[in-house]
Symmetry: C2
Subunit: 363 residues, 2 copies
């Protein structure tokens, strides 16, 4: 797997006439070699010369771990007294014209130290090819995402047992994040959201001391990180009996979620999914209350490409994984969002999340 990724990067390098590429974001080093390490202030980098084999440069204390995990077998080390950028320079013989770097990750002082050692003429950003590659998931990546989904769904099922009138949003958040660790996750993939009543109408609200009350909507938006990959699911519940208006927005969002999923197939435009959901919500008169894009890619990050919004005319491709999360937010009243994680397959769509979506009364 890492071999074909390196090959894709080499294609970009050739197209942009790069003499070398230097990968320093830890998750991209992992993506291209299978070795994950967070080196903090130390230097970690994958050095890929256009005319030779790649070398993984690691702090001396990581040599053994790198040798075991990395598919790139040429490994160079540096001690705390070495200048790691000189180690990089020695690996790249000769005069350098164009070198690829991750400009959205590298800090200016690292860049200056690297540039002082390399003395290349031009530095080119490598973000585009890496984002492009990451957009299409391998079977191994899908398996890891499934695992992260499995854990978060078990956590949600277990956490729901704690819902009763009088419990606060923050108490439920604490309970859920506790369950995540208990069930083997490294932790939440983003700050867990439990929003009750009128708070559920805030798409980016903060859980607080608001208590859960009968007759209200209760929204959970949560995910876990596990083995380098994440999940991200939203479900909204009725606490006790809710009114007709609340039921109507629930059913409208559910219909939009199902219709958008139905529209997922290779070749369709990402924008068409957003439009499908938005048109359905607008037809019910709630168009102005669906205030965000339909979804976002996910994988190693909880937000990555593709972006599922109304202006993205890119075509769906097999291997893409993204969220479908329509919502309706009535200020002062409450909101509903139903979010699934889907995989584009050769023939259509597989919904990776399996938590029930029918309106459910809890508490």
């Amino acid at each position: 797997m890492t071999e074909s990724r390196l090959q894709q990067l080499r294609t970009f390098m050739a197209a942009h006439q790069l003499d070398a590429a230097i990968i320093t974001l830890p998750k991209h080093v992992y993506y291209l070699t299978g070795f994950f390490s967070e080196p903090h202030e130390r230097f970690l980098g994958l050095i890929i010369p256009s005319d030779g084999e790649p070398t993984l440069v690691v702090p001396a204390l990581d040599r053994e771990a790198a040798e075991q995990a990395s598919s790139v077998k040429q490994i160079a080390t540096h001690s705390d007294t070495d200048n790691p950028y000189e180690v990089v320079k020695r690996l790249l013989k000769g005069r350098l014209q164009r070198v690829g770097l991750e400009k959205s990750h590298l800090t200016v002082n690292r860049y200056e130290a690297l540039a002082a050692a390399l003395e290349a003429e031009t530095y080119v950003d490598l973000e585009a090819p890496l984002q492009e590659m990451r957009m299409i998931k391998s079977p191994d990546e899908v398996a890891r995402i499934r695992k992260a989904i499995d854990v978060v769904e078990k956590v949600l099922a277990e956490g729901l047992k704690k819902v009763k009138a009088g419990v606060t949003e923050l108490e439920l958040v604490a309970e859920l994040e506790y369950l995540m660790k208990r069930m083997g996750a490294e932790g939440p993939s983003f700050s867990t959201m439990v929003l009750a009543g009128e708070n559920s109408a805030l798409p980016h609200g903060h859980p607080g001391d608001r208590t859960i009350r009968e007759g209200e909507l209760l929204l959970f938006d949560m995910g876990v990180a596990l083995d380098g990959y994440v999940s991200d699911i939203t479900r909204t519940f009725a606490v006790g009996e809710i009114n007709e208006r609340q039921k109507e927005i629930y059913q409208t969002v559910l219909a939009a979620n199902l219709a958008a999923i139905e529209a997922v197939r290779p070749g369709a435009a990402l924008a068409s999914l957003d439009k499908t959901a938005r048109d359905l919500i607008a037809a019910k008169g709630y168009g102005e209350y669906f205030t965000h894009r339909l979804g976002h890619g996910m994988g190693m990050d909880v937000h990555e490409y593709p972006s599922v919004h109304g202006k993205n005319q890119d075509a769906l491709r097999p291997g893409m994984v993204f969220t479908i999360e329509p919502g309706i937010y009535l200020p002062g009243v409450g909101g509903v969002r139903i979010e699934d994680n889907v995989l584009v397959t050769e023939t259509g769509c597989e919904v990776l999340t399996s938590f029930p979506k029918e309106l459910t009364v809890i508490g």
Copy 2:
């Protein structure tokens, strides 16, 4: 407070002949204005021309929040369709020679976009003056640190009730992080460590499925983040009866902790604290098992200046806050670390942490 900090920055600017300083790290914008915001991909910056008043540049949607919180009253906004760097350029009239930036924070692509708009001749790193300022805490900062300490000590006291043979390290971590949120913390200030038995001999171990057993040492290293500031405390306990060797290393570490605290006073060298603790541990024959520095500064970050190690000849100054955390780690047997947070006062030292340190049997 923010006024005198801006004044200190201006002193640095004058000494380095800067035409302007541009602060973009959110916590530094907060430190200099009182306004905290995490703008993600949007631009947030405090622009300080050498010859005029500072301006806070915020995304349009943050104007109201910035007006309320910021002590810098001149506020400029940019919308998502503006180039924020052009907004910055307009605030800095005339030809720019030297401009200060946070090079250890700014990414290369932001730097390139900023440089393309500003066209200054030289960019100077502002990290040094900010680190220097942050090293001396204001009364308000000390009050926030005290609050973070108070919460983590309550969490530890409560969490200890869950310790019994058979419980795993990870279950205790989950319980502690649950209590942190319940008690009002934003979350842990670093990954909570609970290490049992031989795992306690790993200064940077990872809690796992190891169960707590009678006759072993149990080490807790934890802190919380609250209102922008952190705490960081370590205590080691005996689970049931422990042997003489374990007791000896406990008492040796405790003596080193107390002796180092006793040595804290303005004017003393940071190195002398490390030496005091290290000499005492070496005299008991455990010198080679105290494998890290004595401590580190803390405040907005859990690791900041000053560094309390044997080569740091800088003098202690009133307002410094740092950890004192001697340890002895016997491979395969177990380890003890006792970590306090101290404040250098005009006359000596105030120990901010108050959790008891006498050898305590739990479980």
